[in-house]
């Protein structure tokens, strides 16, 4: 007998979005998001025909919106696997309704983010050169290796905990039966199968943490390994990882609040979940501010001319409005809304999360563009303005992310059903035993 058997007749509300016909709102959302994606595809085809001249990029600013979006989307991907893995490792019981959403974010956003360097190449056929004659000692190739490893790892990490839920769907549904038969991998819920699954999830939750950290460290290296002013920094690795987790939690909040409202998940995503994760967002905001301060102070104190020129260009020059908006969005707003329990409400958290997403996108912009507009060599400086093509492709990527998420929710439970039921059946006793094991024995207390 397995120690726990999930039931396909409980938690109906989690199956409802999959089994009920698509609502009018769902159809409207799919059409609206699909239209944005199609327009972006059209603009990309236009870029393929006309070349990169349709973008705002020009010497010396050869990286613009595409690389900003690449860094931003890969950063958001840290929401998922990393947060889910950390919560599983630390056995945080409040993780149960959150982990699935977090893992889905990673898989979708990584695929979208990974496309951006190819879009930035202008000619996608040039990708072949990476395979035939790339230089593995280039940080750009480290990116290719680490992002593909992270994508493979996080897809497997999403898939494994999905298996028991897919088996429940296989029992309940006639629709898409072949899909659920295929993905359930012969799951019957025997004790041996549970052992195998738990062991594999335990291995993956350890493995994905260093992979996730390495991904954003390596992404920072494409900047930090150059001698460009504003980029050549030893703290860029951890600074990027902190920023990635920060923006990832904010994206996770937006997804949680949207699905809570759309699917009526108020009983599963309770205020306590928002309170707990809200504290983590606040901690990341403070940590991000500390890293930003360290980064700028080091450049300022050194007073190296090229470094100072870029620093003043960001903080007091053309990019000053964006720089200070970034500071307000990433530090002032989260601090104001999240530091007090009474303000850490769901609308407050949503406002803080949207501010953080805007702020972190601006942070990526402020890292990439001003340094390129201030080259060390006496090039003719070109001021960068994004073109309609770049803006459309950014909007298309954001729409594709939302579309991917809602399509996933139409086929699979967005909250892990078996983990919720396992929590009800076993977690209370296990937690009690675990907490008892942390404390001194009663005999010691009496002595």
């Amino acid at each position: 007998m397995p120690r726990f058997e999930p039931s396909s007749t409980q938690d109906e509300v989690l199956f409802r979005p999959i089994e009920q016909p698509a609502s009018r709102n769902f159809q409207l959302a799919v059409v609206a998001l699909g239209s944005i994606v199609l327009f972006a595809v059209f603009m990309y085809v236009r870029q393929l025909v006309r070349g990169l001249a349709v973008t705002g990029m020009m010497q010396p600013v050869t990286w613009g919106f595409y690389i900003i979006s690449f860094v931003f989307f890969i950063g958001i991907s840290h929401a998922g696997t990393l947060i889910s893995a950390i919560l599983r490792i630390t056995q945080a019981e409040w993780r149960r309704p959150i982990t699935r959403m977090a893992e889905v974010i990673t898989a979708i956003v990584l695929a979208i983010g990974g496309l951006h360097p190819i879009i930035d190449m202008g000619r996608p056929d040039r990708l072949l050169n990476v395979f035939l004659s790339g230089r593995l000692q280039s940080p750009l190739l480290w990116d290719v290796a680490s992002i593909t490893a992270y994508f493979a790892g996080s897809t497997v990490y999403l898939f494994l905990p999905l298996i028991p839920d897919v088996a429940l769907l296989r029992e309940r549904n006639k629709k898409h039966r072949w899909l659920y038969d295929f993905l359930s991998w012969g799951w019957q819920g025997t004790e041996r199968q549970w052992q195998v699954l738990h062991r594999a999830i335990n291995i993956m939750m350890i493995v994905v943490v260093p992979i996730a950290v390495s991904v954003h460290t390596v992404i920072s290296y494409i900047f930090a390994m150059t001698l460009q002013a504003g980029w050549h920094s030893t703290i860029f690795g951890p600074y990027f990882v902190v920023g990635a987790i920060f923006s990832g939690i904010a994206a996770l909040f937006v997804a949680m609040i949207a699905f809570r409202s759309a699917f009526g998940l108020q009983a599963y995503l309770k205020p306590v979940h928002f309170q707990q994760l809200g504290k983590l967002l606040l901690a990341m905001s403070v940590l991000w501010t500390y890293f930003t301060f360290c980064e700028y102070l080091t450049g300022f104190y050194g007073s190296e001319p090229a470094e100072m020129k870029t620093l003043l260009y960001k903080t007091g020059g053309r990019y000053a409005p964006l720089f200070w908006t970034m500071v307000i969005c990433n530090f002032v707003v989260p601090l104001a809304l999240l530091s007090h329990r009474k303000l850490r409400t769901i609308p407050g958290i949503l406002a803080a999360s949207i501010a953080v997403l805007i702020g972190m996108w601006l942070e990526r912009l402020i890292i990439v563009v001003p340094s390129l507009e201030n080259p060390r060599m006496p090039f003719l400086t070109h001021l960068y303005f994004p073109s309609l093509t770049e803006i459309s492709l950014f909007a298309g990527a954001a729409a594709l992310f939302a579309l991917g998420f809602i399509v996933f929710a139409k086929f699979f439970p967005i909250v892990s059903v078996w983990e919720i039921q396992e929590g009800r059946a076993l977690a209370l006793q296990e937690t009690e035993e675990r907490v008892s094991s942390y404390l001194p024995d009663e005999e010691v207390a009496r002595a």
Partner: protein
Amino acid sequence: MPELAHGGRWYRRKIHALQVLSIVLMWGFLAGTASWMFNLVRVSRSLGDALTASVGISLVAVPAYTLVASVLTYVFFGLRRGRRRPEEEE
């Protein structure tokens, strides 16, 4: 919890073939990545480029892919072995 309680023999075989194919694709992906890295190490050697950097990256990346593919394969075969025998179902 039944497994493929419905569907004929051909349906079951098709589903099984697709499941095996997904594992084969994962290992194919790993083999492709390993051969890509081997090629880049070869190119770097022929060009007299920094060989140690290429070898170092390969030594980190290939085992990471192998571990992920191995976990997936372990689950695939583990779930097959862990199924109930027909007499247990009765």
